[in-house]
């Protein structure tokens, strides 16, 4: 009963489908066959519907149990892997940047250390230089002073001896010329006065 009404309904729908197809221009151009469309042969409907549901159910089972989980797994795995790789690349980049910064800091430190060392050495050299110079100057001054003192002494000595020689010579010359005996004191005084006057 139900099957009968289903068949009747499907026939009606089929009839309507003919109207549709006739409305399509492409179909209108090719409709020369006659004898009705094989698609509207109601006797083939049960077998087609039956096999449609059998094959579709089979495919649905295979898809939902095997194919779809497998594809989803692989896609998820890949997505994770890609994100992981990007993450790793970023992390390594950050690490490399840290190393680079460290390196640059070390270089800068070394440079400033070297600078300090050079300056310190220069300072030391300058200091020792100045010290040596001062010492040398002092020594020179001492030597000069000593030499000057010695010169003055010798000069005094020379003058002293010159004075005695002069007074002796004066006394002797006086004695010889005038026959007078002059005392040493007098001669000395006269020589001194003459030297002072002469000088």
């Amino acid at each position: 009963m139900i099957a009968n009404s289903v068949t009747r309904w499907s026939r009606r729908i089929g009839l309507a489908a003919v109207a549709t197809v006739a409305a399509l221009p492409t179909w209108a151009a090719t409709d020369g066959g006659g004898g009705g469309l094989p698609q509207l042969d109601v006797s083939t409907f049960p077998t087609q519907v039956f096999w449609l549901f059998v094959s579709f159910a089979l495919l649905y089972f295979v898809m939902s149990k095997v194919a779809i989980p497998r594809i989803a797994d692989v896609l998820e795995e890949r997505q994770e892997r890609i994100e992981d790789d990007i993450e790793t690349a970023d992390r390594l980049r950050a690490e490399a940047e840290a190393v680079k910064a460290e390196y640059e800091k070390a270089v800068a430190d070394a440079r400033s250390d070297a600078h300090d060392l050079v300056r310190k050495a220069m300072d030391e050299i300058a200091a020792s230089h100045a010290k040596a110079e001062a010492e040398a100057a002092k020594k020179t001054a001492e030597t000069t002073k000593a030499a000057e003192a010695r010169i003055a002494e010798q000069r005094t000595e020379a003058l002293e001896s010159l004075k005695s020689v002069a007074s002796e010579a004066a006394a002797e010359a006086t004695a010889k010329l005038t026959g007078l005996k002059v005392t040493d004191a007098k001669v000395g005084k006269a020589v001194e006065a003459a030297m002072q006057g002469g000088a």
Partner: protein, 175 residues
């Protein structure tokens, strides 16, 4: 799309970063390893870290952009897809109307009035469907002027995506 992305950013990128880090470490180690550094430099100078940062950013941005593009391609709005849909909608409405009219005639014995009435009602229903398809309202039953049904269909995800995409830009401008 996926494969070149991998090739670009994955193995090689990381290998180069490692090479780069090694060079830096070698440079730190002192003049004894200078020869090693020179050798590596001669083979291939490692890309700069800025370059790598750019590439990481680009790959991440590319993924986002691809995702956004996927979201934006919605219904088939091409003329061809529309043409394929519209022609059949009208006919289907007429078929259903005629079939129901015919059935009612058989049941109520009012031949042929129900067929005629439902033929036109079916045509009207088909036209409603054509109208909805042609105005890009999808094929939802109900009137287009309610608008929220359609808004949740297409506008919703797109709008939220735009606001998501917009906020970092705005933040950047403010900063």
């Amino acid at each position: 799309m996926v494969a070149p992305l991998r090739r670009g950013s994955g193995k090689h990128g990381i290998r180069r970063v490692r090479g780069c880090a090694e060079v830096r470490i070698a440079a730190l180690a002192g003049p004894a390893s200078a020869g090693l550094v020179r050798g590596m430099d001669d083979r291939k100078s490692p890309p700069s870290l800025e370059d790598l940062a750019d590439r990481v950013k680009r790959v991440r941005g590319g993924q986002d952009a691809a995702r956004r593009k996927d979201l934006e391609s919605g219904l088939p709005s091409s003329a061809m897809g529309l043409a394929f849909r519209v022609g059949v909608e009208l006919v289907a409405g007429v078929i259903v109307g005629a079939a129901i009219g015919y059935g009612l005639d058989q049941w109520l014995g009012t031949k042929p009035w129900m067929l005629i009435v439902f033929f036109f009602l079916g045509a009207a229903g088909g036209m409603m469907n054509v109208y909805r398809a042609a105005t890009g309202k999808g094929l939802s039953v109900g009137y287009a002027n309610t608008a929220d049904g359609d808004g949740s269909n297409e506008g919703g995800p797109k709008g939220s995506e735009h606001s998501d995409g917009g906020s970092p830009d705005g933040g950047k401008k403010e900063g």
